[in-house]
Each structure stands twice: as structure tokens, then as C-alpha cells.
């Protein structure tokens, strides 16, 4: 119904307009959707399929170094881990940025805040990758 008119109307706009918030808004949804799968995998793989050998004083589902190291022998696991790390950091920190925008942080304040969040994100990502690499070192 309104869909037909929508498409006609949108075709009329030759150059797309979207403003600076377009990509953050879209990526928040994309990363959110992806995290549904990535996080579920993460929790399930680490705590449910982890019951390999239950030793005397180790609880099933407890994460131990060697198990994690074993998992990192598969390249697929690396890809998932890096995706998870980057998506989660983006989604969370962009979320914080959104809260600041809602409270009317604009102009210089916004640039500073975005810069700071970006800095935290990059630092956390770098540290995360180093931490992951330590499992197979």
C-alpha cells in the first residue's frame, strides 16, 4: 500500500541524505543482530560443550587455559573471537555514545566523547587480541 508510494518517493531523491548518524545507527543494529549468534556460541562453547574431562576439583563448565588453547587451534574459532570482540566493543561503546547524544552532548563535547570512546575501544580491542594470542603462545 504505502510501500508503492514509498518507493516512488524515495526514487525521487537523487542524492541520498543521511546525516552523520547513519552508519553508527545501522551498525548498532547489524552488530546487535550478529552478537545474538556470536554471544550464544561464546557462552555455549565455553560453558556447556566444555565438559570434556571433569577432573576432581574442576567444576564442569569452568574455563581452563588448556581447553581454550585447544579451541584456538581451529582458525574458525579465531575469526569468531575477533568478530565477537570487535562487535561487542563497538555495540557497547556506541551505545554509550548514544546515551550521551540523547542528553544533548553536541559540538566539541561530542567530538571529545566520541574520540574518548574510540580510544577506549581500540585499546580494549588491542589488549583483547594480545590476550587471545597468549593462549597459543
Amino acid at each position: 500500500m504505502a510501500q508503492v508510494e514509498l518507493e516512488e518517493k524515495v526514487r525521487e531523491a537523487p542524492t541520498p541524505v543521511a546525516g552523520p548518524s547513519f552508519w553508527p545507527w545501522l551498525l548498532q543494529r547489524v552488530t546487535g543482530g550478529a552478537l545474538l549468534i556470536l554471544l550464544t556460541l561464546h557462552i555455549v562453547v565455553n560453558h556447556i560443550f566444555n565438559i570434556a574431562e571433569v577432573e576432581d576439583d574442576i567444576l564442569p563448565g569452568l574455563v581452563v587455559f588448556s581447553d581454550v588453547a585447544d579451541r584456538f587451534e581451529t582458525p574458525a574459532y579465531w575469526i569468531i573471537a575477533v568478530l565477537l570482540l570487535s562487535f561487542a566493543l563497538f555495540h557497547g561503546l556506541n551505545g554509550i555514545r548514544n546515551i550521551l547524544l540523547d542528553y544533548g552532548v553536541r559540538g566539541t563535547g561530542e567530538k571529545v566523547a566520541t574520540g574518548a570512546l574510540l580510544g577506549v575501544g581500540l585499546a580494549a580491542f588491542t589488549f583483547g587480541v594480545i590476550a587471545l594470542a597468549a593462549f597459543i603462545a
Partner: protein, 241 residues
């Protein structure tokens, strides 16, 4: 029935601070909150200031907060907010400066309204039409709800995002923007969407739905905003066929 109105007063000529004042009135069972307020103004305190006109939910003047909920006073029955008599708290619309008592300054509301190009932009360079513009009946009916807005400010008052950010365009302006953006006679979509896609435009809405729930004319600003977001995203991604 006896009912007590606890009204948020503000009389800048005599005092800098707002305060509450209570009045007890005896009104018929069928009375609206507006009736009760006018009873106060006409017989108890002539200095009580409020806006009202049509008494029938079409002029949009009497928007105010009744027991914390933004609504039209003329459309709110006393028995609905005070079933067995008792107290009703009445305050001016939120998120707008207050001029006096229950009278809110609607200037910010109108300023944002104007910013969304709330009119049909004609096709300057196009051919002169040979016949009237046609619109599908379904589309006309769909647009009807957004055209029904009476600019009462209730949605603006109800929105928590407006409360925390002065610059957010707000539900009424955005709903109006859809009314024109969806109209096939309009050629101003690009300039309008450019304004809406700015930081304090569409993106500040978090689908809280307070506006849609409170609107006395059943306009649904949340739906309008979501449709507009879709329009902007599809256009930007080049997915509009």
C-alpha cells in the same frame, strides 16, 4: 461530586517560584477536568490562567498534565481520574517553558514544527499538470491519521527524549514530516529528510511509544518516525528501487 484540584500555580508577577494550590469544587458526575478548572476560575480564583477554547478535543488548546499524564483537559472526565471524588493533580505541559499557571509557551514546539518543511513543496521545474493530482484512496486514508494532528503538544510533553534533550525535534513535528513526505504531490522530500536525518532528528527516537499512547487524536508519531527512518536508510543504501 466533590473533587479537589491540586493545581501547579505560577504567577510571575507576584512570585518567582511555582507552587501548588488546592481548590475544592462540586461538579456534576459528567464533568470534565476542564469544566472543573473553569469552575475554579469563574467562582473561586479569577487569576487562574489556562488555555481552552472548543471544549471538544479539536482546537488543541487545553493540553496539560493531569495526575502526571499529559492529556487534554476537555477530553478527560473527572470520574476517570478521580472515581470517587478525591484529588486531581493538574500541572502544565512538560518540556515547555511555563508563562503562567497552566499556560505553556509553545514557541519551541512551533519552531521545530517549522523546521520540517511542513507543507507541500511544488515541482517548480516540472510540467504544469493537465489534471488534478491523483492519490490512491488507501494512501489518503493512511495519511489521514497524520493530518489529524491538532498540535496540542501532548505528545511533546509525554516524550522522555524531549525531556532530556531540548533540541530533539519531537514527535509532532516528525509525524507532520511523514504526512508530507508520503504525499505524492510533494517534491520537497530531499530537503525535508536532510533535516530529519540530522543528529537531533529521527535518530533520537527510541520507540518509547509514549507519544502514540497519549495522543488524543490517535496520531501515531512512532509509526511515522519508523517509516521515516526506513526511508532515509533505504535511500542512503541505494536500495530504493
Amino acid at each position: 461530586m466533590l473533587v479537589r484540584l491540586r493545581i501547579r500555580r505560577y504567577q510571575p508577577e507576584t512570585s518567582q517560584e511555582p507552587y501548588y494550590q488546592s481548590f475544592e469544587v462540586d461538579v456534576p458526575e459528567s464533568a470534565t477536568v476542564l469544566d472543573s478548572l473553569l469552575e475554579v476560575r469563574d467562582y473561586l480564583d479569577g487569576t487562574l490562567s489556562l488555555r481552552a477554547s472548543c471544549r471538544s478535543a479539536i482546537c488543541g488548546s487545553c493540553g496539560m498534565r493531569i495526575n502526571g499524564v499529559s492529556r487534554l483537559a476537555c477530553k478527560t472526565l473527572v470520574v476517570d481520574v478521580a472515581p470517587r471524588g478525591g484529588e486531581i493533580t493538574i500541572e502544565p505541559l512538560a518540556n515547555l517553558p511555563v508563562i503562567k499557571d497552566l499556560v505553556a509557551d509553545m514557541d519551541p514546539f512551533w519552531r521545530k514544527w517549522r523546521e520540517v518543511t511542513p507543507w507541500l513543496v511544488s515541482d517548480e521545474d516540472g510540467e504544469k499538470p493537465e489534471r488534478e493530482h491523483l492519490m490512491a484512496n488507501k494512501l489518503a486514508l493512511y495519511l489521514n491519521q497524520f493530518a489529524a494532528c491538532i498540535a496540542c503538544g501532548v505528545c511533546y510533553s509525554a516524550c522522555p527524549i524531549v525531556a532530556i534533550d531540548d533540541e530533539y525535534l519531537g514527535p509532532a513535528a516528525l509525524a507532520k514530516a511523514l504526512r508530507y513526505s508520503y504525499d505524492p504531490r510533494d517534491h520537497g522530500k530531499r530537503q525535508r529528510l536532510a533535516r530529519l536525518a540530522e543528529e537531533q532528528g529521527l535518530w533520537r527516537c527510541h520507540t518509547i511509544f509514549s507519544c502514540a499512547e497519549q495522543c488524543p487524536k490517535r496520531v501515531n508519531p512512532t509509526e511515522a518516525i519508523q517509516q521515516l527512518k526506513k526511508m532515509v536508510i533505504l535511500a542512503r543504501l541505494g536500495l530504493a528501487r
